[in-house]
């Protein structure tokens, strides 16, 4: 195979092309559905068609009579020790009802698995699943979180006296005074609708249990292989040391695969029963109900402001729909919202209350951005509402409230220590690039064509690099936030990098190779990156929360430093000099000023392996491992500017200009960063314009396929202008921050703010998402009637 083509050398910051691509463009990617194991059987699930129902009986006789059907398993027969476990308990005392792997007495949302069929192939499995008869007694349903809190609402879990999961609260001492003294109060209600992460590859897994050894191998499309291993061992009742989780290529995650799901446990347990590997691949219609959703938060803002639009106190009350059960991190998602309520603004006093609620819907959890888009969307809508109310320009009201560059490190009213920021700079650059100043002429021109044109801003900051382990513990998350790396130099001078991150499109093999070239002088093409197999790597925490580079990348950076320092000792020994006499050239250790007295890293890799002569106290082989626990989060930020045109006749909203200025600190792979911003913005655009996961009042899913759930296509997206500023993070030695979620966090409010601005000429002051044409038309009708 040809070496990876590249535009420049292959170190940090170089415009390299991805080394992952070849297998994907040739069709040789290996996703979970591409794997076949000898003797493998196939599973299909029988799922509840009711939002809430008592399960009276399950009759599997017809299914079992079908040739090729091996088993029909139910709650009574599936061999597991517990239900799905959540790792999230923010503030303590979170209600965690049992989530049995197959529903026990009640099904609490449409799609909840009730029985599992194992058959020779997937066609038969589906036929047999359809032949299983379940006798249900439907009981009252509640899908709306605010209604679920009303007295007398149907109880999702009868063992509790209400549907409240947990109330998260945070109030600063000075809040009441500050709000009382504020000369002006501005209120806003914002609905952040339910969405679905919707990776193009659905979920899927293969469980392979050996009854002779008790070992189990689970192949699964996940972002978090090690979490899955830990939980499989607990749920299925086996030693964690006997569980291997393999992550093949993963066709997108977006939070959908940052979880441990019933089906992952079920295929392991089923394999134990039938003594053969069991594969399950999720249908898209199944994905719509069986994989987590995101968002679904109703927010009530009240800002106390002075005459200049400066926020003196901010009250935020929200209701978060958790769905029927808590998944891996469900209660922590709106906790992230809580932390980011003040956004990039210097707001000293806040009062935040978030009530989490059970409803008869699929659980919500992390969907790209995970709690942070909710915070950003709301505060950015609020900033525009303040600007509108006081007659101040939207950019100006932000300038007046920004945390200033000289305030960093900055401790927010919610207790976060923002590392670095130049908020004014990204704003001014974005205003310039988007020709903000000349906008009114474009508005006037569009009006002549029957279009309302508007411009909107989103100035965001996000918390990334999850997370310092002491902090995750304090936040009630039963998992740490460190990351692992191992760097291994082979006798031939090539390098293996083992990382605990779990890329599924982010290109870590490329970026990690660049870091290795820069820090250790091993050429980009001589580096192989291994990830996603618990058999080959120490514990890793995985890829989510824009953490991979800021935590996993730093773990790698530190291992590379350790190897380089060990190589130095070896070089000093071989060159018969003191280590202080040596200097690092980028590819070798040499005696200062004497290029002829040097050892390349490859020579040292060989010498370390050969071990013919090692310095006192040095072990053979250049290899190092690091478990890096970050001292702090990172805080990427930026400004997005959007222009929309709204068709006066139909209400159709079109994004006509989009400018993004992002600051994610130092950049390793520019092309990948741009790609993450592109995709992130389109996911935010999807939420702003197209996407909503909708239930009927009786709990039925009204958006079960890609025909109803509108993922934007190539023909629906605008071209965009990207730009970066660089403010290195002070939280880590590479000065990196993270970029995977920035676009999604920023985009929805920029687009909605632009649409509200467009309709401001007819007196419209707020719009909810998605801004589908019918909704906009109704608003226009009301405004003009």
């Amino acid at each position: 195979m040809a070496t990876t083509e590249r535009l420049t050398s292959g170190g940090v910051g170089d415009a390299v092309l991805r080394k992952e691509d070849r297998k994907f463009v040739t069709g040789e990617g290996r996703y979970v559905d591409d794997l076949k194991l000898p003797g493998m059987l196939h599973a299909a699930f029988v799922r509840s068609s009711f939002g809430h129902a008592k399960i009276n009986s399950i009759d599997a006789s017809a299914a079992l009579a079908m040739p090729g059907v091996h088993a029909v398993l139910t709650n009574a027969t599936l061999p597991v020790e517990t239900g799905v476990l959540s790792a999230s308990n923010p503030g303590g005392d979170v209600r965690h009802p049992e989530q049995a792997i197959l529903a026990k007495e009640f099904a609490r949302y449409v799609g909840e698995p009730v029985a599992m069929v194992i058959a020779d192939n997937r066609y038969l499995a589906r036929d047999a699943a359809d032949a299983v008869q379940v006798d249900y007694d439907p009981v009252p349903v509640v899908v709306d979180a605010e209604k679920a809190l009303e007295p007398g609402a149907p109880l999702v879990h009868a063992e509790y006296d209400s549907n409240l999961v947990k109330t998260l609260a945070h109030v600063t001492d000075g809040f009441a005074d500050a709000l009382a003294k504020a000369p002006k109060k501005i209120s806003l209600r914002v609905v952040n609708q339910r969405v679905t992460p919707m990776p193009m590859e659905t979920r899927g897994c293969i469980g392979d249990w050996s009854n002779s050894t008790g070992e189990v191998t689970l192949y699964t499309s996940t972002q978090v292989a090690h979490f899955v291993r830990t939980f499989v061992s607990i749920v299925c009742g086996t030693s964690e040391a006997k569980v291997r989780v393999v992550t093949p290529d993963v066709g997108g995650g977006f939070g959908a695969k940052l979880n441990t799901y019933r089906e992952e446990f079920a295929v392991c347990a089923a394999s134990k029963v039938v003594g053969r590997p069991v594969k399950w691949i999720e249908d898209r219609t199944e994905n719509a109900v069986a994989t987590i959703h995101g968002r679904d938060q109703v927010q009530y803002y009240e800002a106390g402001v002075d005459e200049n639009g400066k926020i003196l106190a901010l009250k935020f009350d929200a209701v978060q729909n958790n769905g029927a059960y808590n998944q891996l991190l469900t209660p922590s998602i709106s906790h992230l919202t809580l932390f980011m309520v003040p956004g990039c603004y210097d707001i000293q006093d806040v009062s935040i209350t978030i009530r989490q609620v059970f409803t008869n819907t699929t659980p919500t959890d992390a969907s790209r951005g995970a709690g942070r888009p909710e915070a950003t969307h709301g505060i950015e809508r609020l900033m525009d509402a303040i600007a509108d109310d006081l007659g101040i320009d939207a950019a100006e009201v932000r300038r007046r409230n920004f945390i200033k560059a000289d305030q960093f490190p900055y401790t927010s009213a919610t207790g976060l220590a923002y590392d670095s920021g130049e908020y004014h700079e990204t704003l001014e650059v974005a205003l310039e690039l988007s020709e903000y100043a000349g906008f009114e002429a474009r508005r006037a021109e569009a009006a002549k064509r029957g279009k309302y044109r508007g411009i909107g801003l989103s100035t965001y900051v996000e918390v990334c690099g999850l997370a310092p382990s002491a902090v995750t513990a304090a936040l009630g998350i039963g998992a740490p936030g460190w990351e692992h790396s191992t760097v291994r130099l082979h006798p031939t001078g090539k390098a293996t990098v083992i990382t605990g991150t779990s890329p599924h499109g982010q290109g870590h093999a490329t970026s990690w190779s660049q870091i290795t070239q820069t820090e250790l002088g091993i050429p980009f093409d001589d580096v192989e990156v291994i990830h996603g197999d618990t058999a080959f790597q120490p514990y890793g925490l995985g890829t989510y929360g824009s953490r991979s580079l800021a935590v996993g990348g730093i773990a790698l950076y530190r291992s590379l430093g350790k190897v380089r320092e060990k190589a130095r000792e070896l070089a000093a020994h071989l060159l018969e000099c003191s280590i202080d006499d040596l200097e690092w050239t980028g590819t070798s250790w040499q005696v200062k000023g004497s290029p002829d007295r040097a050892k390349t890293i490859q020579e040292l890799a060989y010498a370390g392996w050969a071990s013919a002569s090692l310095p006192e106290g040095i072990e053979p082989v250049l290899e190092a491992t690091t478990f890096h626990d970050p001292p702090n989060f990172t805080f990427p930020f930026g400004t997005h500017v959007c222009e929309v045109e709204i068709d006066q006749a139909t209400g159709h909203v079109e994004v006509v200009n989009y400018t993004a200025v992002d600051d994610c600190g130092n950049v390793i792979t520019p092309m990948i960063v741009d790609g993450q911003v592109h995709g992130g913005i389109i996911q935010g655009l999807g939420q702003a314009l197209f996407e909503e996961t909708v239930y009927s009042e009786d709990g039925h899913m009204l958006t079960p396929t890609l025909v109803e759930y509108l993922v934007p296509s190539a023909a629906d997206v605008p071209p965009m202008t990207l730009h970066r500023t660089t403010t290195p993070s002070t939280s880590n030695p590479m000065g990196v921050k993270g970029i995977g979620e920035a676009g999604t966090i920023a985009a929805s409010s920029a687009i909605v703010n632009a649409a509200v601005d467009a309709l401001s000429v007819i007196g419209v002051r707020h719009l909810e998402m998605p801004m589908q044409p019918s909704r906009i038309w109704n608003v226009m009708q009301e405004a003009t009637s």
Partner: protein, 271 residues
């Protein structure tokens, strides 16, 4: 994702196809509607007969005042055909906007009519043009105006043993256009309106306004009586009551009928 068990035959002649249909097989044209329904198990025919191998069902030719289009002619062929583009523009335009490129490669004009989706574009466009279908069954051949073909949701007036063999498009519908409104580019029309300005006046028809494509008689009668376009648009939704759903309220959809009728009329007039 998995269709139910079925028996498949591929007809190589119209007679074979008709015999299979008479024996109870469901006709499979391009499969762009039926196959997804089978995968979702919303349809589970025990037998299907593939019409893809019947030569007499494919092709476009001039036949007197009409263009004869084989029922198995793809949307792509219809969209690109010079005769249809010239003489029955509304249909070519509607065909060009169905689904995606790949769906147009496979989906057929006869399949669209027989499937009778209440949001289908082709039925409304052909209705606006004043087209008809030729159907054949054990009782022989007959001609049905498209307006009498689709009776309600996914239902036609075809007898159980009948197949659409041909679509007849009038050549006098050159001054015509189709306008549609949908969310994403690939989505079904929320509302679509075809308008044809012919020798005997204006014909207009809409999709998405009920359980079958419907003539916009209010719109037509105002214009054909010499009334203003403005008045015609005001009457475009007369007698219609599209159901409110995730795509919009009844009121919104009726409003769209007017907007799209105006748009299609303007485009047709300019041709």
């Amino acid at each position: 994702m998995i269709p139910s068990t079925l028996e498949y035959t591929k007809a190589t002649s119209l007679d074979e196809a008709l015999a299979a249909v008479k024996a109870g097989a469901r006709p499979l044209a391009g499969g762009m509607s039926l196959m997804p329904m089978m995968r979702l198990r919303l349809a589970a025919p025990g037998a299907v007969v593939d019409l893809g191998g019947v030569p007499e069902l494919v092709g476009i030719c001039e036949d007197g005042d009409e263009i004869a289009v084989g029922a198995m002619t793809t949307h792509r062929s219809v969209a690109n055909d010079p005769l249809i583009r010239e003489h029955c523009h509304v249909v070519a335009q509607a065909a060009a906007g169905v689904g995606s490129m790949t769906i147009r490669n496979r989906g057929t004009i006869g399949g669209s009519l027989a499937h009778a989706d209440p949001h289908g574009d082709l039925p409304a466009a052909i209705l606006a043009a004043g087209g008809a279908v030729i159907v054949r069954g054990s009782g022989g051949e007959r001609r049905i105006d498209v307006g009498d073909l689709i009776t309600s949701y996914l239902t036609t007036s075809l007898a159980e043993d009948e197949l659409i063999t041909q679509v007849r498009l009038p050549k006098g519908a050159g001054q015509s256009a189709y306008a549609k409104f949908h969310r994403r580019a690939i989505d079904w029309s929320i509302i679509g309106v075809g308008v044809s300005i012919g020798a005997d006046g204006v014909r207009a028809a809409a999709t998405g306004v009920g359980d079958h494509p419907t003539r916009l008689t209010g719109f037509e009668s105002v214009l054909n009586a010499g009334g203003s376009l403005e008045d015609a648009i005001a009457k475009a939704g007369e007698g219609l009551s599209p159901l409110g759903d995730l795509d919009g309220s009844t009121e919104y959809k009726l409003h769209l009928v007017g907007v799209l009728a105006a748009q299609a009329h303007a485009e047709a007039s300019s041709r």
